[in-house]
């Protein structure tokens, strides 16, 4: 091994091994970096969890048809005649008996009470027809049974049950003057549908005075490519002032605004805080260099070069930052990962989601930590490399 590498290795080892001598100062740098990484990762995990819940809900074999320009289900409205026209559209898959796989649905907002805060919150009540559940992937009833058509029965999503009161199996929920019995709880692969209440479409239409009104239609396509045919059909018929898009596209649009906002808040905050941590790191490293001035000068006097002193100091700083980054990531994982929260989604109703940390996010946090360590070590490392030997030996760091 060339001498310069041996020297560098030796100095680096001395530096890292001497960290415990500056325990409190080093600890404060580690904690500062860890806090920065935690704040960043908590925000990113929140954005990621929200994004996955919503974006994970869509299938590219399902198209959703809304009134032109309405953007969200809650704003949309379509007539029975339009539903009939959509059933005849090209690209629509049919069941073995030849029925078109189209589900016209009513989407209403009702009040529920959030367990954590005991405050009212908007919950989506969806009226679905016989095809409704089959047009969503991975739906399974985990408790009770599906509602019976023509009755005041409802089934609720698992996430909704967890966050909101009064929807336990067998309970009666009342929306205005009508009472509804919860007969089942369903799972939907962690998607946004798990934050919904489902009931029989005609019953909901009549009890909410919405006869012959639908919000949206969901369509099973013969293949993802059939979307283009459906779009063209909708565009060419003047009776259909509607937008057809794939469910994937619809949910991606829904998620983007909130996710953007969370990320736009998270990064600037983390960067501003990183400056604070940087000041701490620089401080720690300058005092490390000062306290080892005699030692560095001695090494230089016996023939060590400036470069090993430079790398040694930089390595110490990077080690501290890396520990801080790891501690921050582990702490975020322990404290925040899997926490469920709910907020208003694009359709003005509560979406239940959980914080999700992913390896990519952890990598971003660790990179931020290492940048702090790199800059925090760079200037003190220059000083270590340039330390005048005589002054160092006299102890005038």
């Amino acid at each position: 091994m060339p001498p310069i590498l041996l020297q560098t290795a030796a100095v680096t080892k001395i530096n890292v091994k001497s960290i415990p001598q500056r325990f409190w100062l080093s600890l404060s740098t580690v904690v500062a970096v860890a806090l920065v990484v935690m704040v960043l990762l908590a925000f990113l995990a929140m954005a990621n969890g929200f994004q996955r819940t919503i974006a994970g809900s869509g299938s590219d074999e399902i198209a959703i048809v809304l009134r032109a320009g309405s953007q969200a289900e809650i704003n949309s409205g379509i007539t029975r005649e339009q539903v009939r026209l959509i059933e005849e559209a090209p690209g629509v898959a049919r069941s073995a008996e030849g029925r078109p796989l189209v589900s016209a649905e009513l989407y209403l907002v009702v009040d529920g009470v959030k367990r954590a805060t005991q405050t009212k919150a908007n919950l989506p009540l969806r009226g679905i027809g016989p095809e409704g559940a089959a047009l969503r992937k991975g739906i399974s009833i985990v408790q009770g049974r599906m509602f019976t058509p023509g009755t005041n029965e409802i089934v609720v999503g698992k996430s909704l049950l967890k966050e909101f009161e009064g929807f336990e199996l067998g309970q009666t929920a009342s929306f205005a003057t009508t009472r509804w019995t919860v007969v089942g709880v369903f799972e939907a692969g962690g998607s946004v549908f798990e934050s919904e209440i489902w009931g029989d479409l005609p019953v909901i239409q009549s009890l909410f005075n919405r006869n012959n009104v639908f919000q949206t239609a969901r369509v099973r396509l013969t293949s993802p490519a059939a979307l283009a045919q459906l779009k063209q059909y909708v565009e060419n018929d003047p009776r259909l002032k509607l937008d057809a898009k794939s469910e994937v596209e619809y949910f991606a649009d829904q998620a983007s605004q909130t996710t953007d906002l969370i990320q736009k808040l998270g990064w600037p905050l983390a960067i501003a805080m990183a400056f604070g941590a940087l000041a701490g790191a620089l401080n720690t490293m300058y005092s490390s260099v000062a306290s080892r001035a005699t030692e560095i000068a001695t090494l230089r006097a016996i023939g060590f070069g400036g470069f090993p002193a430079f790398i040694g100091t930089l390595a110490e700083s990077l080690v501290l930052a890396a520990i801080g980054g790891a501690v921050g990531a582990i702490a975020t994982w322990l404290i925040f990962d899997g926490i469920t929260a709910s907020t208003l989604g694009g359709s003005f109703t509560q979406v239940v989601f959980s914080f999700q940390l992913s390896p990519e996010l952890v990598a971003q946090g660790v990179v931020l930590a290492l940048i702090v360590g790199l800059i925090g070590g760079l200037f003190p490392a220059f000083r270590a490399a340039r330390l005048p030997i005589i002054a160092g030996l006299q102890g005038i760091g």
Partner: protein, 386 residues
């Protein structure tokens, strides 16, 4: 040399170190100021809501409609002073991405009921009432699009369809509303319910919610109960609450914003406290011998304490005050671009006061241990410690 210049000299004996600490304190307070303003603006709706203003919404949920007849029925209830109603329009300008807050309101009564929030001259009110397609636009919204009185603007709706098949309503701007306080959000537009109701294709003769004031806040409870009892067991049951409680519940739906902001500010402060505290302790330790010399010269213990504490407080002020200044500028710059999410962003007086108290506290907390140690230092050991 007076004490202040001594403190200053001490603080800047290592310029790099002082600068770094000032920068980190600066960031802590800039974060504090911006997030404080953010929270403040976020909860403004709740703070500005008048105690005697009540909101009547459909009991199922506030997005469900109420029949227009409720307006007259509520007007006749004893103890009700003013009543008005509004309907959410789902507005946008030119592109659905340019989401705009637009309400269809009963013009005469609505302007009166919110007169504590916005100012209109009697002529402007008259114009709003008499012009069928007239719209009142808030100052901030008018500034955003460069609108003037007399402009005709097409407003799109992502909910309603016009009788003529389109989704846009032409409106004539008859007045620009000025806020009564800088915290009032003026990113809104309101237009006549009559025009809206005649031209929309569905949900005719329904309204979104009813706003009312009572003759005295003391009878709010009784009036609320009377209203809800009046419509009980009808197809449109109501839920009446104070505007404050209503706004609070709505904000709570967005999730626990206050907790998240609190955690972030807390984390930023702990970081800074550690960095600054450690550095202060270290810089005082380095000066042990000097402090011994000051004591030999006859500096009393109290004065030593004052010198060291003064140094840490000066440090936090040097970082904190510019931090708050930047927070002020940042909120000013952000104000219009995020008004859609949090309207009326501004650093208010109480945030400045809280920041000042925090700066002093931070200075004292970080300085107190080194200061007490310095005060208690025995001359012999100070001079002996090399």
């Amino acid at each position: 040399m007076n004490d202040l210049s001594l403190i200053r000299k001490n603080l800047f004996r290592k310029r790099m170190r002082a600068a770094l600490m000032i920068v980190s304190i600066f960031f802590a307070f800039a974060i504090f100021g911006v997030l404080g303003a953010f929270l403040r603006a976020f909860y403004a709706g709740q703070d500005l809501a008048q105690a005697d203003r009540l909101v009547v919404v459909n009991k199922i949920n506030f997005t469900q409609p109420l029949p227009i007849s409720y307006f007259n029925r509520i007007r006749n209830i004893e103890g009700v002073r003013q009543v008005s109603h509004a309907n959410w329009f789902g507005g946008y300008y030119q592109d659905p991405k340019n989401f705009t807050v637009v309400y269809a309101v009963e013009p005469q009564t609505y302007v009166d009921i919110i007169q504590d929030l916005i100012e209109l001259t009697p002529e402007e009110k008259k114009a709003f009432i008499s012009e069928r397609t007239g719209a009142v636009v808030g100052e901030a919204l008018a500034r955003k699009w460069g609108w003037k009185v007399g402009d005709r603007v097409p407003m799109g709706s992502n909910i309603y369809t016009q009788r003529n098949g389109s989704q846009t309503w032409d409106m004539t701007i008859v007045a620009i509303a000025r806020p009564t306080s800088p915290r009032v959000d003026t990113n809104f537009m309101m237009f006549q319910y009559a025009y809206f109701n005649e031209t929309r294709t569905f949900d005719k003769d329904t309204i979104g919610w009813i706003l009312l004031t009572t003759t005295s806040p003391g009878i709010n409870d009784r009036v609320s109960k009377t209203i809800d009892a009046m419509f009980a067991n009808s197809p449109y049951e109501t839920s009446t609450d104070t505007e404050k409680a209503f706004n609070k519940a709505f904000i709570a739906q967005l999730g626990n914003i206050a907790l998240i902001v609190g955690l972030v500010v807390g984390a930023a402060f702990v970081t800074i406290l550690m960095v600054v505290g450690n550095t202060m302790a270290m810089s005082i330790r380095e000066r042990t011998r000097e402090i011994g010399v000051l004591k030999t010269l006859g500096f009393p213990r109290g004065r030593i304490l004052k010198l060291v504490l003064g140094e840490s407080v000066l440090l936090t002020l040097l970082g904190g005050l510019p931090g708050m200044a930047v927070a002020f500028l940042a909120t000013l710059a952000l104000r219009d671009s995020i008004s859609q999410f949090v309207p009326g962003l501004a650093v208010t007086a109480d945030i400045y006061i809280a920041a000042l108290i925090l700066m002093l506290a931070l200075g004292i907390v970080t300085g107190i241990i080194p200061a007490v140690n310095a005060m208690r230092l025995r001359i012999a050991s100070a001079l002996g410690r090399a």
